[in-house]
């Protein structure tokens, strides 16, 4: 590899569509989520930092970084330090798989869809370890709940992703995206799969009605109750990047990813814009779901997933199977 192409690749990873771009996107998505949620609730939302409060997530992030770093007595120090780092690095790694500026992601290889789904489960397992590491009554209950929830939503999520893969006859994100040139899969037979994916994503992100692991009124902050300062900042950033990842994955699998009408020569810019518009559409749906419902109870979540989400996902799978 020549020095020039090496530098080009390095700049791609660091700036666009790598770390810096993902960081900005994550903060922007958090702002959009908060602002839209506030509008739905007849509030103003973030207002002071920057125009329309757009810098508020950044301000929160910096504030958390500058806070005192407390390690309580009795915590498992290794896990307590490692889990925020793992959470952040895994979620950044996951976003590199997203097709943002072309039909291929920055990382693209045969079978990367499998890796993407596995990473989602890993992130949940890290949540569990983070809760157990801070040996607190509330955090242990939160960690336990995040696993119970995983039992509920993971299988429907996998089946809805598998239906898409079956439809495209591939487990590679880039070929799934390029096979949607004619018709997006949401307009194809995968509308049920999209609904299942949205609910599972909501559960994965621990948002209402599935925010059991960190239910404020019950467990104060749940699994992250003992984390302060830098560690909490990392967890929050990881959550936002996961939000970008799930919105982007939904856009790539069901809404044709970055595809759209293009002028030749400007593909990367137009693709990026299409990608952001589509994933923000998914984000808006997630926010509306968050504003519309009350929090469910843990047994209700598991039974809801097995009674409704799983049959829906299986029906979706059968529809796709019969069509091809």
């Amino acid at each position: 590899m020549s020095l020039e192409s090496f530098l080009f690749e390095a700049l791609k990873i660091i700036f666009f569509p790598g770390f810096v771009f993902i960081f900005i996107l994550a903060l922007f998505y958090e702002w959009f989520d908060r602002k839209f949620y506030a509008k739905l609730q007849n509030r103003v939302g973030p207002l002071y930092a920057g125009p329309l409060g757009i810098l508020q997530p950044l301000a929160d992030f910096i504030k958390l970084l500058s806070k005192e770093d407390i390690v309580p007595k009795g915590v498992d120090k290794v896990l307590f330090t490692a889990t925020p780092l793992f959470s952040l690095s895994l979620s950044i790694f996951a976003t590199l798989l997203l097709p943002i500026f072309s039909v291929k992601g920055l990382l693209s290889f045969e079978g990367d869809l499998v890796i993407a789904v596995v990473l989602l489960t890993f992130l949940c397992i890290i949540t569990f370890f983070a809760g157990v590491a801070s040996y607190n009554r509330f955090s242990i209950i939160g960690a336990e709940r995040s696993f119970l929830q995983l039992i509920g939503y993971e299988i429907p999520l996998m089946i809805s992703v598998i239906s898409v893969a079956l439809n495209a006859q591939s487990v590679t994100i880039s070929s799934i995206v390029s096979s949607q040139k004619g018709l997006w899969y949401i307009l194809g037979p995968n509308i049920l799969g999209f609904i299942v994916f949205i609910f599972a994503a909501q559960a994965e992100l621990e948002r209402i009605p599935f925010d059991l692991p960190e239910a404020e009124q019950e467990l104060i902050a749940g699994w992250n109750i003992d984390y302060t300062g830098r560690r909490l900042a990392m967890f929050r950033l990881a959550k936002n990047i996961e939000l970008v990842f799930l919105c982007g994955l939904a856009a790539a699998l069901f809404l044709g990813g970055p595809l759209g009408p293009v002028v030749s020569g400007y593909e990367p810019i137009l693709y990026t814009i299409y990608f952001i518009i589509k994933s923000i559409f998914v984000l808006a749906i997630l926010t509306i779901v968050r504003a519309l419902f009350a929090r469910l109870r843990i047994d209700q979540i598991v039974s809801l997933s097995w009674k409704y989400l799983l049959p829906l996902a299986i029906i979706q799978f059968l529809i796709v199977r019969l069509m091809i």
Partner: protein, 393 residues
Amino acid sequence: MATFDIPIGPQHPALPEPLLLKLEVEGETVVGVDFDVSYMHRGIEKLLETKTYFQGLPLVERICGICNAAHGLCYTLNVEKLYDKEIPPRAQYLRLIVEELSRIHSHLLWLGVAAFEIGFNTMFMYTWRDREYVMDMLEAITGNRVTTEYSQIGGVRRDISPELADKLLKTMNVVEERTKYYIKVALTEPTIAKRTQGVGYLSPEDAKSTCSVGPIIRASGIKFDIRADDPYAAHEEVPFNVITYDSCDVFGRVVVRAQELLECVNMIRYALKNLPSGPFRIKLPMKPNAGEALTRVEAPRGELLHYTLCEGTPKPYRYKVRTPTLANLGALRAMLTSKGRYVVNIGDVPIIYGSIDPCICCTARVQFIDIKKDKTWTWTLDEIRNRSRRMRV
């Protein structure tokens, strides 16, 4: 299975006020509960003995910010019993109007808090926004949003002008429309139904035996409302229904409170249309007659009880307040420790606790601590009764 304790409170996001709920938990189910409400002793009863009856009113209103109208009303009714004077009917009607307005604001506030306890933040924001209509009207009538001090000994502080009455009637239309919308949401929204139906079960027998009051006992299907049983401010003349519901759970309490909102609106409309003319206040002397008086008022949270013992001086010899939250704590224990079909999950604790509309800071305590011997004990009702008799003789 091993059990472990989870302390909810005294500082907790679900609790607006300091209370310690010591939950004994087996996995996710609650098997035992212990309370501690003694974090906020303010000595109001003692302080009342140092003030004259006329000076005591602002203090009494500060027992509870939300049911301040009920406290003020109960206090004035209680003191007026010592005078043997007829209170003008216009004052009675005006008192009823302000009391029902404060009931509307309290119930709307509770609806929001209950929605917040089950994580339904959108409804919380909406109900609190619409509560502002009522707060504005309270301010227009009494001059203050909370701690209104409207009811005075001998009448009320201000009269309602015809223009203000018109405005109030118009606001009632808005409130009625919004309330109907919330009733629709509460009855049809599936996640609310899932979180409230069959949760916090209180059988009618338990409701009676734990002496619960207010919307709690009415949601267990028992008709118990001081406004109907022991009318105190024009309640004989203003028609209204006592709302009951027989589901005995949190859902029933939501329905009872929501339906009561509509009743309040109708009562205010009737009272405004049939407002008697005449004076709204009479002057009473500083010194009441010697004697004792006991008054019950239906506060938004349930039966509120005030007692005073007067020796013919301008200051009370003893003043005693029993707030509805104290009466409902027994019912709360019964709800949290239900077994079998209605066993309580940790996730249900905030909404069950919220369903009694708790107001810990106004709750009186009966616990004694001997620091020298490091001993705490409580008195039963009978012991208190015996001792009080001895003191009075």
